[in-house]
């Protein structure tokens, strides 16, 4: 198929940036979206132009690096997939596709489609861990009894890959789905109880400090999240913070 691409180009963090139109031809429906971008970049390099910078690493939906706002949706029109898992068969011959970086004050653009998501790292550093002594005397994991339901729900929360689609999608640029998932994966397990109060307080404080917006429960994040992280995690975080604040 032949496509017109409208892509955000920005030289560096200080540049104002603008949308630029490109044409690509003979794109196969079996290609992934990133492979289509590779085709474009080869074309640009052969013509002596600067290729479009975009983040990617695993190209199989697990690292969370790829981040494109495609035709007005994070990770494009398909559900439950990252941009690297999005197939070109979702588009039609002759389509115009608009491609933009994640937009959020807390995710500044570094170049073209690449944004800085260190804010997520700093939120994790504020409490997204448990302090376990790992030097030699770790106990058997099965020695701690955990209900199947708690283990499954915690695991579901832990599948968040930190891609930032929730922030990019949210009309308020809120990071609550991400932080809710990270708080929940520990709050549900006995190992997470010890530091539970400090964890939620510190992570929420860091989230606010980074300049993410305020959740208004539109639910857009849950729909666009490639891992199907549930809004229940936000409710759980709210409960955890209330508990921690008494």
């Amino acid at each position: 198929m032949d496509l017109t691409l409208k892509i955000w180009r920005q030289v560096d963090a200080k540049d104002k940036g603008k949308m630029v139109d490109y044409k690509v031809t003979e794109i196969s429906g079996s290609m992934s979206f990133l492979e289509m971008m590779d085709v474009l970049n080869e074309q640009l390099v052969n013509a002596g132009d600067e290729p479009v910078a975009f983040d990617h690493d695993c190209r199989e939906g697990i690292c969370g690096m790829c981040s494109m706002y495609i035709n007005g949706e994070a990770h494009g029109p398909d559900r439950g997939v990252t941009t690297c898992q999005l197939h070109m068969r979702m588009f039609k011959d002759g389509d115009t596709i608009t491609i933009e970086p994640w937009r959020a004050a807390a995710f500044p653009v570094i170049k073209d489609l690449v944004v800085n998501r260190s804010a997520f790292d700093r939120i994790q550093h504020a409490g997204g861990y448990i302090s376990v002594n790992t030097s030699g005397n770790t106990q058997d994991a099965n020695a701690t009894l955990i209900s199947k339901k708690a283990a499954d729900t915690a695991m579901d929360a832990a599948t968040c890959i930190g891609c930032g689609a929730c922030v990019a999608t949210c009309k308020n640029s809120s990071a609550m789905l991400f932080v809710g998932a990270k708080v929940s994966q520990y709050a549900l397990l006995p190992q997470g109880q010890v530091e539970a109060a400090d964890r939620v307080r510190n992570m929420v404080a860091q989230m606010d400090l980074e300049g993410f917006g305020n959740c208004t429960n539109t639910g857009a994040c849950e729909v666009e999240c490639p891992k199907g992280i549930s809004l229940d995690n936000i409710a759980r975080m709210n409960r955890e913070l209330m508990k921690a604040s008494i």
Binding site: R103, S173, T216, T218, G219, A220, L241, S245
Partner: protein, 244 residues
């Protein structure tokens, strides 16, 4: 379900008095405060509608209840100030949140497809809210200011007026709905209130941390509440328009 909610409301109220600063300065604390004011407003709407329905069913009872509400010191000096505080708090906080949220995204998307992942109601709370605010303005001019004038400036607490037999409240209410433009404006505002609540009802429970495992039932009650309450108010206005 309800006692769980009341427990949480209780906890948060206690919180307010002890650790107000820290909690309510956080993004989640603000959401909880927003939800608490909204719960109060939703409870108030239910109570207000129940009384207004009497104006259709039994004008005498409506007059008596209105006189009681209008002269009872507990209602006048405790509940009314709380209500005014809740209304003002709710819309001021609504504007504050909206402002903060718009600052969280400095560059807008060239193309954004909000309809793909969220309801129109959820994305336009500020617009439905501002319509309700305009309505509250009209409502104050229509009922509240004259009421305050009669009671506090004229010092007339009798509940009667010249040329009207018995109590004046039903007469005053019916008078207001003679004008079709006003009836239309009321109906329009209540449709937007319905849209505000169609998202707001479940949203408030979610903010309080309470939707897990009961999403379905809350959605059903929310849908019923957001349709029936505005429909009730509209029906009453239309009834008086055709029966004055």
């Amino acid at each position: 379900m309800l006692d769980d909610l009341f427990r949480r409301i209780f906890v948060v109220t206690i919180l307010t008095s002890y650790t107000m600063s820290g909690f309510f300065k956080s993004s989640i604390g603000r959401k909880v405060a927003m939800a608490l004011s909204a719960f109060f407003l939703m409870f108030f709407l239910l109570q207000h509608l129940s009384i207004n329905i009497l104006s259709v069913l039994s004008p005498e009872t409506f007059n008596e209840v209105s006189h009681f509400m209008g002269t009872n010191p507990l209602v006048q000096f405790v509940l009314q100030p709380i209500l005014i505080f809740a209304v003002v708090f709710h819309f001021v906080m609504g504007f504050v949140l909206e402002l903060r949220n718009s600052r969280a995204r400095k560059v807008a998307y060239a193309k954004n497809n909000g309809a793909a992942n969220s309801s129109w109601m959820s994305r336009n709370m500020i617009w439905s809210g501002m319509t309700i605010l305009a309505f509250i303005g009209l409502h104050f001019v229509d009922f509240w200011f004259p009421e305050m004038n009669t009671k506090f400036i004229q010092q007339d607490w009798s509940g009667t007026m010249e040329g009207v037999e018995g109590l004046r409240y039903h007469h005053e209410l019916v008078e207001k709905f003679v004008n079709p433009v006003r009836v239309g404006a009321y109906a329009f505002a209540f449709v937007l209130l319905g849209l505000h609540l169609a998202h707001g009802f479940t949203s408030a429970f979610q903010s309080m941390g309470g939707t897990a495992g009961r999403k379905k039932i809350l959605q059903t009650i929310g849908k019923a509440y957001s349709i029936l309450i505005p429909l009730g108010f509209i029906t009453i206005a239309v009834y008086h328009y055709f029966n004055h």
